[in-house]
Symmetry: C2
Subunit: 351 residues, 2 copies
């Protein structure tokens, strides 16, 4: 499991994770949009070498995976764990992923750009993630020649990434902003200040499990620090609003909220078949229950992990088998029941 | 608790209870439709005396309650326990109820007729119930002069009861006939052969908790035995159909049925507010689970009792207080949680 899923982070009752992604390309090679397998193989080799040659520690910590060496299920799982993008998950030939043991530093190779350097942390830690991504970026730049223009900055395949090449994003759990409908004005405001909001899982633009990913849309005309600061400020406002609404709701609608939280628990602990969509919504209610102090024998981190484990790819990886939808729904419910049982038994023993 | 709720009966996985009701009037008194409090008081006295004067046992076993001595909640509770009709529940002055300790022999006095003698048994026992009602009827007839016409039979306030004055009814739990929609042809067929079908609880004609009450519509032109036999035959057919469909479903749709049963259990064991309507539907699923052998630590009889205990009147009786709707919904869910917990703990200890 990636460390962003197993470790604790600041404001984790609302901010599930923080991510920084840097888009980089090599000067002497055409952009990945121009398909050329020999070039791609060469770039994978160069990027791998730039990390492995730093020192023995780095060589031991990182591993390089050719996308073609992964099964469909393993690719799907890596997408669900946010290690790779859905786009890379679909590109099999001439693409690779380089990642450390903690799976919090990940370099996608030959996705939309030659390199996409990512740092992923639990909770609200954009600046720390930026520091980590920066460090790797510097190490690589010592060995490789980036495509860089004095006036434009880093050159990228898509114009929206030109400049700093940076994209910061936070994954937010906003059940009460969603419940009360306040989320709509948040979405409008975010768009107005140049931030994009999208769902995290599920098809299309749905916001399953009350999860929202907020990121900067433009990476040009401001420094990395300014871009991150703006994202951080807006996120801080959203956190404040969600917290205030939770407080208000627990004061005025305690029985209703308790009912919602415990019913979800009852369904997760008892259903015999469940879709990922439905499970995410109940996990979201449980997460809310933990954060409000209603549920005491389940941790927030455990629920964050379960969010990923129940996704189709991770589920099939767990059972080591391709499963049709109806069987997945059955296996998902047994896994949820077992995981909650084991987790709460452990928690109760520790007390 | 009335013995029909606490004791076991034949075919109880489908037939909750069997009831026989005999409508009788006294010859020298105008029908209850003619309001006359002095007459009503006299009739209550006469009927009471006719029972109490039989012997010491009868005098000790039976008690007479004036409706005006009961609180609103107690009247509501007696309706929910099927001891009295909703009509008697609303008539306060000049009405009474006479019943034995087991609450399986009940005489409503000054409801639509002067006397309505009822016998109520768990499971499918129409003939036995008829025997019990008959016996009481004979005892009373020794003391009192019934309004009887040689050609018409017993005279009653409403013409549909003239003749034998008998109404037999069974309360059936038919979740799968309902789920599959086969219930509609059952309803049509029952009407065609002169039987009426109605819901047991809830407002209007709804069939809450998949419970149906089937009774004869006409009591004239056939003997008591013939009337009961027809009701018994049709009921037997319905039982057979429900059983066959349950068998079929558990063969072909086991995961779906298990899911439905366990989700209902999860909700009953976890909700923090629940309407009687919703609770009845989940109890119905649990009852199905018990009958299919999926649920082993809960008994069918326990669920039959819970069906009554969660009704608004019984619930308020339990908490000894008039409660507004939202508070009832909260109290109902705590009561359900506690009852299931106590019951399953007892059952698990016994193993």
């Amino acid at each position: 499991m990636p460390s962003w899923m197993t470790k604790e982070g600041p404001d984790q009752d609302i901010v599930v994770s923080s991510r920084i992604r840097l888009a980089r390309n090599l000067r002497n090679y055409s952009f990945p949009t121009v398909k050329d397998l020999r070039k791609e193989v060469k770039i994978i080799e160069l990027v791998g070498e730039s990390i492995f040659s730093v020192n023995k520690n780095m060589k031991e910590d990182f591993q390089l995976k050719q996308m073609e060496d992964l099964t469909d299920i393993e690719r799907m799982e890596k997408v669900e764990k946010h290690m790779i993008s859905p786009q890379l998950g679909e590109k099999i030939e001439g693409a690779a992923v380089l990642f450390n043991r903690e799976e919090n530093l990940i370099i996608m190779i030959n996705e939309e750009d030659h390199l996409r350097i990512q740092a992923l942390l639990p909770g609200f830690q954009l600046k720390k993630a930026f520091g980590m991504a920066n460090q790797i970026d510097d190490l690589i730049e010592e060995k490789l020649d980036y495509a860089f223009d004095e006036s434009l900055g880093y050159l990228t395949a898509c114009p929206t990434n030109v400049g700093t090449g940076i994209r910061g994003s936070v994954m937010l759990h906003l059940p009460i902003l969603t419940l009360t409908g306040h989320i709509n004005s948040i979405l409008q405001f975010s768009n107005k200040v140049g931030l994009a909001v999208r769902g995290v899982y599920g098809e299309g633009s749905g916001y399953s499990g009350n999860l929202y990913q907020i990121s900067n849309q433009i990476s040009l005309g401001a420094t990395e620090e300014e871009i991150i600061q703006k994202l951080e400020d807006v996120t801080q406002q959203i956190i404040g609003k969600e917290r205030a609404l939770r407080e208000e709701l627990i004061q005025n609608k305690r029985p209703e909220i308790e009912d919602q939280v415990y019913r979800s628990r009852g369904i997760l602990e008892n259903s015999r078949m469940i879709s990922s969509e439905e499970a995410m919504n109940h996990l979201s209610n449980l997460q809310l229950g933990v954060s409000l102090g209603l549920i005491k024998d389940i941790t927030s981190g455990f629920l964050n992990q379960l969010f990923i484990k129940i996704q189709p790819g991770s589920l099939q990886k767990h059972y080591n088998n391709e499963l049709i939808l109806s069987v997945r729904n059955q296996k998902r419910s047994s896994m949820i029941r077992e995981e909650i049982k084991r987790h709460t038994e452990n928690n109760n023993t520790e007390e």
